[in-house]
């Protein structure tokens, strides 16, 4: 009889509930991670609401921090008992997409080796990590040992929030001396702000209306925060940039309004770096797009994964360059996860991120 564990599963739109499931059995390339801390992502809320479809009964969650419980027979280079994280995106390393550097579009199972969003497996196409144990696929590409001295909460943002937010700045090609606007200062946007700061932006304009988030944005590196409820955001950004517009704008919410404002705020030749998960068709206004003649770039990024990415992000934590512990505002046991979803999905009590400990 298989060993059983607690896991948060998608039951139906509107309901994620704790359930008993067997501890996963691992194949030769996998590892079993005992989860010590995990968290809830905005994407999980999309799943909860049925806006992003997953199969019923799937364990959700894609941000694991834990201890290696067991290694597949072909896995080398790790030892059981080691503390490790895995990214939200778990590339195979060997798909054509992965070998080409597009780890998030991994299509290891397909004929040609590419699949949109194929690198996102945890809580999407395989069981996730809001559970006592999680199977980490292609463990050698994905398990990243946690450096000594870093706590679970210190590295909890690495698997997704920090990797995604930083990617917003990276894909935007932020350079020393750039002016950058970051639309929305939720957890992803805040990390984009940190990323833009780390890459040398000399003027960072956050867009946010929630006071706690605006304040956190300034603490983490924004030079200005514009309240979109009280201010015309694009005009204010133009004013703050002497009429030129920003070099890079980062969209970190996933709505038409923020996408459009991010485009309007750009200087000619600027880059819109999009991180949001959209839920409807987007419109590109002709004028904002200079009829296609503005040398604009629109780039999208899915959270970079793999152990090397995780190693580098943990380095940024360990060196003190990025201190994201403040993002964890609330803590729950796994058994309270339904309450955690309730708090997080309603953005109550100034919540940014929750820590869940099985």
């Amino acid at each position: 009889m298989p060993q059983m564990m607690k896991a948060a599963v998608f039951v139906e739109p509107g309901r994620i509930a704790l359930d008993d499931k067997p501890v996963p059995e691992i194949g030769p390339l996998d590892a079993l991670l005992r989860v010590t801390t995990t968290t809830i992502c905005g994407t999980d809320v999309h799943i909860l609401k049925g806006e992003y479809p997953v199969r019923r009964g799937l364990t959700v969650g894609h941000e694991p921090v834990g201890v290696i419980e067991k290694l597949g027979s072909a896995v080398r280079g790790y030892r059981e008992g080691q503390r490790a994280i895995a990214g939200a995106i778990t590339p195979s390393g060997y798909s054509n997409a992965s070998l080409a550097g597009f780890h998030a579009q991994d299509g290891a199972g397909t004929a040609h080796g590419w699949k949109p969003i194929g690198g996102w497996r945890f809580g999407n196409t395989i069981d996730g990590c809001q559970a006592e144990y999680v199977l980490v696929p292609d463990a050698m590409a994905n398990l990243a040992p946690i450096p000594d001295g870093l706590s679970d909460e210190q590295v909890l943002m690495c698997p997704d929030i920090m990797s995604t937010g930083f990617a917003g700045a990276e894909s935007g090609g932020v350079r020393i001396g750039d002016t950058v606007a970051v639309f929305a200062q939720g957890p992803i946007g805040l990390c984009a702000t940190v990323g833009a700061r780390l890459m040398g932006a000399t003027k960072i304009i956050g867009v946010e209306a929630v006071p706690e988030r605006a304040e956190m944005a300034q603490r983490l590196g924004a030079d200005h925060v514009v309240n979109f409820r009280t201010t015309d955001v694009v005009s204010e950004i133009l004013r703050l940039t002497d009429g030129r517009g920003v070099d890079v704008s980062i969209e970190a919410l996933g709505t038409q309004a923020t996408f459009e404002a991010a485009l309007r705020a750009l200087r000619p030749g600027g880059t819109l770096s999009s991180l949001g998960v959209y839920s409807e068709d987007l419109r590109i206004p002709l004028g904002a797009f200079a009829a296609g003649l503005g040398d604009h770039r629109i780039v999208t990024s899915l959270c970079p994964g793999g152990k090397e990415r995780m190693r580098r992000l943990m380095d940024a934590i360990q060196s003190g360059r990025a201190d994201l512990k403040g993002l964890v505002t609330h803590r729950f046991g796994l058994e309270q996860i339904e309450a955690a979803y309730d708090l997080f999905s309603h953005q109550r009590d100034g919540v940014l991120k929750v820590a869940i400990t099985p």
Copy 2:
């Protein structure tokens, strides 16, 4: 009394007519070019129709081939009588945008040095070259001597069509082994096909319904031409790429339909390189965009200008790498320019490009 010349001017929407105007007087940084050959661009047709607004009385045209008639007092490095071209885009070289490499977004006259589409001056913000003479601004940045042995018609595509079309492949980042789809095989799209071929694309799929253009596409480097009137283009492209989609798709028309198909045809992580001049808002379908998670890039390019760009393009002609003479299908004297517009704007008689000789 000023010397007079013939020039094609924008009279009102629907009417471009030949008129008598004074030969331009030049300032210290300018040159006067006696135009020996020029041509009509799709953008000129937009101007003719009133879809792209310019002031009444403006001389139109932005693709000059000619002979240096006179040099401004501060211009060094040229001699009168020299054959030369200038790009459709005439960067100053000294604006902030130009110094940053965004020559087409030159804002030399503005406080901050950036202006959307500011590098496009000929036939847009200053008098153009469908005339006997044209003033070339910032001559030292823009006059490119024609190598010995190249005829006017051989270099006639350099100022705009070739520079823009090649930019579609360049901004798309085409690499050896890439599969590329080029949407529309008009003059710009044909040059994008040539550009993609020159950069090492190993499968080039043109999209075109006009038989002469489809045939020319294959002559210039397309491996396949898909007729959008008889075939579902996206399905056919997926079939031709074993279900993967193309690495780069180049939009060379400026419509929602081509933009959207160009996006749908991409592999995950692919790049849509847009060249079209759009005339309405664009829509990005959610699914084609993978909800923003597909690591897609959308890049737009305005025709690169400046004498170094022209030099390189003429090298591509001189070396035989690109032979675009076949694009000139019809020839007119300047006095027949209204007939030339009539032919070109209605795409009659298999016209691709016309040569106009003052």
Copy 3:
């Protein structure tokens, strides 16, 4: 008792000989490839001469074309009997170096995941493919099925020569309109010439003294070939570029003389792309280097490997963009491999590459 096979092994400096060895036993991630065609590389000659040290008894050779004989228990996505190649460099896909895109510096076995030249395993750190069978490590990252209709000889250059030569152009960042000099037109240099041509170089200057190689260079895309025995190469290159120098020079031999000439031939701001395997310290002359102020770049490339690279190279063959069959000048059975080494290492009879068939 293990099944036995013939294999060319390194016996001692000066001697590679055919021997009987057991057919390799494969692990869960490996594949066994029955070699149908292979070839000898210049690096193998370095090994033969003892200039590049490998352990005695090692099977040499790193350019396999064959048929999948057996798949490891964890390998998915292939079937036995399938024709396939593997690159000379066999990245793991999951090392830190590989995940970062530096597949050739793979350090899968090391603590930190990086190792100089670690991706080169065949005939270097594990048994190679000048044998009847070869074990392909990390098969899912490395086995590339051969498209229907391509012969062994057509794809024989893909594993090393073509991948390396093309990398010379790619790492050099060749762009449309560039002038490129390629120093030495042996197999690698010829492929660099093809690569430069494929990427849009409009003037390609080969440097070579052997008439057959000079002639082949012109057939494959060189516009000029300069004979270094009869001509001052740098002066001639400057003459051919109107005194400017080349945008990119590719070193494809591995000597001080070619390295130095490649540097001297560069325009300010140019790139020296080095492919050679050097056997002594290099000297950078102060003047050629503009005392460090010339915005020069020197980049080195080790043969890119992995199945996605191989797929793209075979696409270049299949599309007809690159036709390298002419490089195979001589053919031998595996049992004649010592004679093949003798011919190849002495560059007799106009040999470029040999095909070896077990």
Copy 4:
């Protein structure tokens, strides 16, 4: 009779002296800047010693801060009385090199538009700024207005030291999570340290033996400083990087020893970004270079100039991201410039940079 001014001129090797010279007369594209603050560069010391040859009688110095005294007849966009700086490198904007983005290799006066180091004119090919007045050539490309509220000393590092030092990090391609070693912590090396920090390096290792410089390095962002007199630098760097080596090493001195150590300290696939002005041939040790197979890159950078670069650097000052005022350790009047050279060239009294006020 021309107005006269004081100027520091190169008299002969070993002697730079104050002299009376006419205030420069300006042409249509120039501006006359009244110098309010300038400084001495290591390159000036090379000139003083005769190691870098300039013509006798030339006014030296290339780091001007001042007030616009007069504008050439064709200069637009400025007003007399405006405070401004110009970079050490003064590109024309219109040369082929400049239009291609290689502003420092500007060859405006040459047939083909490229010239090694041609963008460096001040105190090299035209009179420099250690004087009461300096002619700024191609003023529209080079004059950068000083933002309100910034003092002369705050922007004094922009024209050369900061631009060069930052270029070390930029050309090195420093990314978030990189480990970077900076060889020598003189003014340029210190700015490279600041640049690496601004671009997101998470471990910065300075190499320096002078205690004041080591201390300043740590204040400006180095995590470790290694004393090359007491420690084996390469071993220590390998130890600090767990045996991997650094992603980027920046050479900021100009000697064989630092160049070589910078190469040895690299991880496979790493980049050596060289800033030093060398005075003899360089040697690349075979082993450190992995025989040419290490995917190494060696890039050199000459100080980026032009007004857009200056604007961005002043933004970095104004935003507080970089505070380099501490680099000015000593102050002199122009009339004391010989004493300033004496102090600076002998690196006495912990001098880093001197401020000279005419």
